[in-house]
Amino acid sequence: MLRLAAASVALPGAVAFLSPWLDAARRDDYEPKFFDTEDFAALDAFTAILIPTDDTPGAREARCAQFIDFLLQASSTVDPTVAQQWRAAMQALRDAGFHAADAKGRAALVAAMARPERERGATHPAYFAFRLIKQQSTFAFYTSRQGLIECLEYKGNSYNAAFPACDHPEHHTL
């Protein structure tokens, strides 16, 4: 879906058109372009439940909702199916009561939506929305500095004098 979303911004001049917005996405005064204010706030809250801040940064610090909004704004200019999919997902969240719920209620709703992932036979009308937001949030988070470096401690993309050989005797035998 991500590739579809990105690849769908194919109109001439689309990139130039989006550049100022992309800069804004990196600032604190961010105003969503794809989602309305309520949906964006719901998405932001949802991503923070999925990838919370703990002893490492979470979705909020990584600005996952902003990046998702950016990709969807880009895709919606040429591919209505991606936009429709996300509108349906946000409507499913709204129908489930996520927008109106308090923090405790939202946590309970996400838990209910996620059940089909682990429990065979379990269903939830907003499960597809859970999966969609989880996939996009996972990408947005682990491609951010907060996710990749501060959380996962990725060591690559660096200059090194040598490649570190395995120095564990226990790995040389099964």
Partner: protein, 571 residues
């Protein structure tokens, strides 16, 4: 008009080597490259995903035209300018580059010698045609090339995996060490991947600094590619002229059955230019070479055999296992993907009478690696969310493991072929290729066997299988690979749904095979066309079979041998 001693069409592994060989012997050479000049200082860099606007997905306007990724699209090809077509039953995807240096700017760097059990496979199992060369014929050229470009690896003494002149091997990471132990327990031989990637300074080039950006272009020239290795010394001779953005449209002939030169079109101006030379060398990649021969005469140039375009092959891709090694779970972060390598398990079946399999002929090579990768492709497939999910992702991140198919021999069949599309033309009005390509029953059986063996190895290593991409970044099927884009109008899912989907390996060969007799092929063993004495074709065209090794080193060895033959004709 200047008449050059030689024109070389293409600047990749073979074109670059030919330029080096010929200019060092005093020939005045014109190299024509259809794509742009690449500057490693500005085009190759270390950037994290979060430093890229689209986190690696790429500027959508550009990525609609290019395969690859936001990091490496400049060294791929513009698919809109350069279309190709396929027959309805074909699912083949042609991974290409158009730039100075060609696909070696982002190649997997595997540098393996082929063995006589591959060159003479037809004599052993009765299928196809033997090569017109043997290992003994190519060994001096393998030696010469390895010595010059620098290949890291370890000697193993395996007849099916001939040793070369190696620089010190790269160390194994933890996952590779565990897989090595598992291979030992299964009685399989394994070794570190043999790579054109320096482990110490060599011929004025620095060693690898293990950044892991190989498939995005090496910024220091530690891996082999022409712009770092063969073209600089060729240019130093003062005998090489390179014209980029020059799209060759055809080979022109004179009245004495000799190539007169070529006509190329300036990419930006659409202006046609004729250039002449005493020798014409096509080294524009296997299928582009054949396209040029097809474009240059009715029925194809140098096609008295009628076999030009036929017997197209690409090593069979498909299958593989990914997951985690529980032994590594929760361990410390380490630089696991900095060398973009792994271990190789050479083929051990159908190499002699003792290892013969009755279910299929020929064989395959496996690769395995693991540990950290930049993006955790598996993460969204891990059930759950919240703090525990985050911890689980981090715990598995360092324990990732994968086994992939490094090359499985595809049988040569005449019904796999290329021709000129009667309607579709490229951006310069030149007819494009139409590819007809399907797999045989043996190809499917080979990959089924690979899958069984890969799962056996994964289980022996204690691995836990998880869904996720099998190929590493930049490899066929993996993120950032040039093979991801279908042909113009290509249908999806044309393969038999009951069978495992097969792919290619970006190792396309054949279509102008070598033969002893002119009636059996297009080229002789020196890659000189049987029909036209001053026309040579370097690339994978000459291959009568794919073998199971990565083909680039053998293409280069054939080039070196062919250049020596050409030079012997000039004195």
């Amino acid at each position: 008009m200047t008449t050059y001693d030689a024109i070389i069409v293409g600047s990749g592994a073979c074109g670059g080597w030919a330029a080096l060989e010929l200019t060092r012997k005093g020939m005045n050479v014109l190299m024509l490259e259809a794509g742009a000049r690449i500057d490693p200082a500005t085009d190759f860099h270390h950037k994290f995903s979060y430093e890229l606007d689209y986190r690696g997905l790429g500027d959508p306007g550009l990525m609609r035209r290019y395969s690859g990724s936001e990091r490496n699209y400049k060294i791929m090809i513009d698919d809109v300018e350069n279309p190709y077509t396929t027959s309805p039953e074909t699912t083949y995807r042609w991974g290409r580059s158009r730039c100075l240096g060609g696909r070696t700017l982002h190649w997997a760097r595997a540098t393996d010698r082929m063995a006589d059990y591959e060159f003479k496979a037809a004599s052993r199992d009765g299928y196809g045609m033997d090569w017109a060369v043997s290992y003994a014929d190519l060994k001096p050229y393998y030696d010469r090339i390895e010595s010059f470009v620098g290949v890291s690896g370890a000697a193993e003494g395996l007849p099916q995996f001939p040793d070369g002149l190696f620089l010190p091997p790269m160390p194994l990471n933890c996952a590779e060490t565990i897989f090595t132990a598992a291979c030992g327990a299964l009685g399989w031989r394994s070794t570190v991947r043999r790579l054109s990637q320096l482990t110490r300074p060599h011929n004025g080039r620095p060693p690898c600094h293990y950044c892991g950006n190989c498939v995005n272009g090496c910024d220091v020239g530690a891996m082999f590619n022409p712009i770092a290795v063969t073209l600089p010394p060729a240019l130093q001779t003062g005998k090489l002229e390179i014209r980029t953005d020059s799209v060759v449209a055809r080979v022109r002939m004179n009245t004495e059955n000799r190539a007169q030169g070529v006509t190329y079109i300036e990419r930006g101006t659409q202006h046609a230019v004729d250039v002449d030379a005493r020798w014409v060398i096509l080294a524009a990649s296997t299928l582009e070479n054949t396209r040029l021969l097809l474009l240059s005469a009715k029925g194809g140039l140098a096609n008295s055999s009628g076999l030009l375009g036929f017997y197209m092959m690409d090593q069979v891709g498909g299958g593989g296992v990914s997951g985690i090694l529980p032994k590594l779970k929760g361990g410390p972060a380490r630089l696991d993907d900095g060398k973009q390598a792994g271990i190789t398990i050479p083929n051990f079946q159908n190499i002699d009478a003792k290892t013969r399999r009755k279910e299929f002929i020929r064989g395959y090579v496996m690769n395995a690696t693991g540990g950290q990768t930049e993006f955790p492709q598996f993460a969204a497939n891990v059930p759950g969310y919240g703090p525990e999910w985050k911890k689980e992702i981090k715990s598995r991140y360092v324990a990732q493991a994968r086994i992939w198919n490094a090359g499985a021999e595809m049988l040569a069949r005449k019904d796999n072929f290329v021709e000129l599309d009667p309607e579709v033309k490229d951006a310069w009005g030149i007819p494009v290729l139409r590819i007809h390509f399907t797999h045989s029953d043996n190809d499917y059986k080979l990959i089924d066997d690979f899958q069984q063996k890969a799962e056996e190895l994964f289980r022996k290593a204690g691995g836990e299988v998880m869904p996720g991409p099998v190929a590493p970044a930049g490899f066929p099927g993996g993120p950032g690979s040039p093979d991801a884009r279908p042909a113009a109008g290509q249908r999806a899912a044309a393969q038999t749904p009951r069978r495992r989907p097969l792919g290619g390996s970006i190792h396309e060969v054949g279509t102008a095979r070598m033969s002893v007799s002119p009636k059996d092929g297009v080229l002789n063993s020196y890659c000189q066309t049987h029909d036209i004495p001053n026309l040579y074709v370097f690339g994978g065209n000459a291959f009568p079979s794919t073998g199971d090794k990565h083909p680039t080193l053998t293409m280069m060895a054939l080039t070196a041998r062919g250049c020596e033959h050409l030079l012997s004709r000039t004195t």
